[in-house]
């Protein structure tokens, strides 16, 4: 039976195009398109109820992004291979971190698509990769193995001037939510990353604490706890600017517990 594929994209012409290429122009590899979803939630509902071998995930969609969908896919008992599709490959690094088989840029090139299929369908199964030391997709297996969260090297990719910089968790003073994105305050500067604060919180282990719906702070950099003018708690950070970060009432107790005050 040919591999069964699901196409997830919020733009109808993009789904049509991919379906056409898969059905008519994917070379020797036979793939059967057995479903389409127009957003991440729909895709997850489909994938939880049916087994797919392959899923084409658009990265930018309303609601859940393709990256978020891929993250949730890891909880499925049988994980399909993921090929991300994007108009502009600014999330490629994150895509590989999520153990994607490949990613494709739009407009799609039929030869490139055929190579992606070959790669996805011949790569070792994404599950339990510890038992498979010869896994040649090093990036994918590294992300999957993740033996102990404390040992895991956490670096956050930041796009700047067309290059990808990797920021160490310890270099982050705090992170602030910025409409689906986050801004990271480093010792001297701020950088924007395309992770939501929730995604960052999941990635950054150890000394990070959510102190507010909009802020995640690195506890190593907390210098003082001060009341602000409304009697709420605020943090003064140990960076050059002595940045202040609001603490919401809801998060204050957990923060005090973690700081032991």
């Amino acid at each position: 039976m040919p591999p069964r594929a699901l196409i997830v994209d919020d733009e109808a012409p993009a789904r049509e195009e991919l379906r056409y290429l898969l059905e008519e122009a994917s070379g020797d590899i036979d793939v059967q398109v057995v479903g389409e979803a127009t957003n991440g939630e729909e895709a997850l509902v489909l994938m939880r109820s049916l087994d797919y071998d392959l899923v084409f995930l658009d990265i930018r969609m309303p609601g859940l992004s393709g990256l978020e969908v891929a993250e949730q896919l890891r909880e499925l008992p049988k994980q399909p291979k993921v090929i991300f599709t994007t108009a502009y490959p600014d999330h490629a690094v994150e895509a590989f971190d999520l153990a994607a088989a490949d990613y494709l840029v739009k407009p799609f090139d039929a030869d490139r698509l055929a190579r992606a299929l070959e790669r996805a369908l011949t790569a070792p199964a994404p599950a339990r990769s510890e038992e498979n030391p010869k896994n040649d997709d090093a990036a994918a297996s590294a992300a999957l193995r993740a033996p102990d969260p404390r040992d895991r090297l956490v670096r956050i990719p930041v796009q700047r001037d067309g290059r990808t910089m990797l920021i160490e968790g310890d270099a982050i003073v705090y992170a602030a939510a910025a409409r689906g994105y986050s801004s990271l305050k480093l010792a001297e500067e701020k950088v924007l990353v395309s992770f939501s604060l929730n995604e960052l919180e999941r990635r950054l282990h150890g000394h990070f604490c959510r102190v507010h719906r909009s802020y995640l702070v690195n506890l190593r950099y907390v210098r003082e706890l001060v009341p602000d003018f409304r009697g709420h708690l605020a943090l003064v950070m140990n960076d050059r600017q002595r940045s202040r970060v609001e603490v919401s009432r809801r998060h204050a107790r957990e923060l005090r517990r973690r700081l032991g005050v």
Binding site: E11, A14, R60, Y215
Partner: protein, 213 residues
């Protein structure tokens, strides 16, 4: 002056055209002509002001391309006072506001939404006012409060909201509000008003008031 083209917009519309080239070649050809129109205007370099009518045409060209991508999910309503058509407005300013509204109004909601462009001339105060609104999820009230209060130091994510967040993610995306307000500063000094609000009914409203020229 040159528009900053959002690469996501460009490559997605090219993908749309690639798709339609097979199924609906006439429509694909029409889209290529529209995309050419869009670029012809976007790369113009002369002058800081243009007739509203030209900017309006540019907006409609842009919208027709986005509608090819999004289909019925993107609804647009125009409410343009004919008197505005001949007034002169800062070049390449309205389209980025509309693009933001498309992003927030459509990009956040799977079921899509409506973007409204309203333009009026007030002959008494000699003001042109242009309002772009969407019915998307609206802005985070805290971000909005900081934007409008100009108080930005707690966490300073107002920064991130003012500039287009996606541009910092390496996309050189649409001209952020900050970029627009810098241009308005240099053109009009303090004789203009650019405000952003999130009404109770939802969505985001950006209103620009400039001296009538």
């Amino acid at each position: 002056m040159r528009a900053q083209i959002n690469p996501h917009f460009l490559f997605n519309i090219l993908n749309t055209i690639a798709s339609k080239a097979r199924t609906r070649p006439d429509e694909a050809r029409e889209l290529l002509l529209r995309l050419s129109e869009f670029f012809r205007y976007a790369v113009r370099q002369e002058g800081h002001l243009a007739e509203f009518a030209q900017e309006y045409f540019f907006v409609r060209t842009y919208i027709s391309l986005e509608q090819a991508r999004f289909g019925d999910r993107l609804q647009v309503r125009y409410d343009i006072d004919p008197q505005v058509l001949t007034s002169r407005v800062p070049v390449l300013t309205i389209q980025p506001l509309v693009e933001n509204a498309v992003k927030h109004g459509i990009g956040s909601k799977p079921e899509g939404g409506t973007v409204r462009l309203r333009a009026r001339v007030d002959p008494l105060t000699r003001t042109t006012s242009i309002r772009v609104s969407d019915d998307g999820v609206g802005m985070d009230p805290e971000v909005l409060a900081k934007l409008t209060a100009g108080e930005g130091d707690v966490g300073d994510h107002a920064d991130a909201a003012l500039t287009d967040p996606s541009s910092a993610a390496g996309e050189h995306a649409g001209v952020g509000l900050r970029n627009i307000s810098e241009r308005l500063d240099s053109l009009f000094g303090d004789r203009y008003d650019l405000s952003i609000s999130t009404p109770k009914s939802g969505g985001t409203v950006v209103e620009l008031k400039i001296p009538l020229r």
